[in-house]
Subunit: 103 residues, 2 copies
């Protein structure tokens, strides 16, 4: 379900983030620092199936970790691992995305 | 043919780079600093039509500028503009890609 960090490719990370909905989800999860359940992280107006699809792509790209806690699934960013493997990539993308939004 | 820098989106840049062939092309162009013609920048074993397709995506994403000089088309990276619009994004991606290759 979650790839080992050494199997995570730069291309799959970039592909996962090359979508405004997924970029929003990652920003939300990154913003809280700790885990966020699926419902709070995804845009409220998205159908459940679309949400699942986006979370799957993010998970398979190695960007997020999803853990079941009781009845809900909690997602967290694999921030430290990704930052170590691809230094500066995620952080600069999240920063650029914030800046672009403010315009 | 070339989008104005203010119309370039982070998503389209990430999508354009989320492909190993296009990442190779961009790295090659970035490596020489100045312009490089299509034939030298693209992997030699790619069919012409595939090359054109990749260059089109890179151009439309705002990453490269293609200029006709006599009989050849010379491509250059819109490095300064992109770096100004999305600070650190391209540079960290190119660096991470180099590092990943060495492993």
């Amino acid at each position: 379900m979650h790839p080992a960090i050494e199997d995570v490719t730069l291309e799959s990370v970039l592909y996962a983030l090359a979508d405004s909905t997924r970029l929003e989800i990652v920003k939300k999860i990154a913003g809280v620092g700790c885990g966020l359940n699926c419902q709070s992280a995804a845009p409220a107006d998205l159908p459940k199936s679309t949400q699942s699809h986006h979370f799957q792509i993010l998970r398979e790209a190695g960007l997020i970790k999803s853990e079941r806690r009781g009845t809900e699934v909690v997602n967290s960013l694999r921030c430290t691992e990704i930052e170590k493997r691809f230094p500066g990539v995620i952080s600069s993308i999240l920063k650029a995305s914030e800046k672009a939004k403010k315009r």
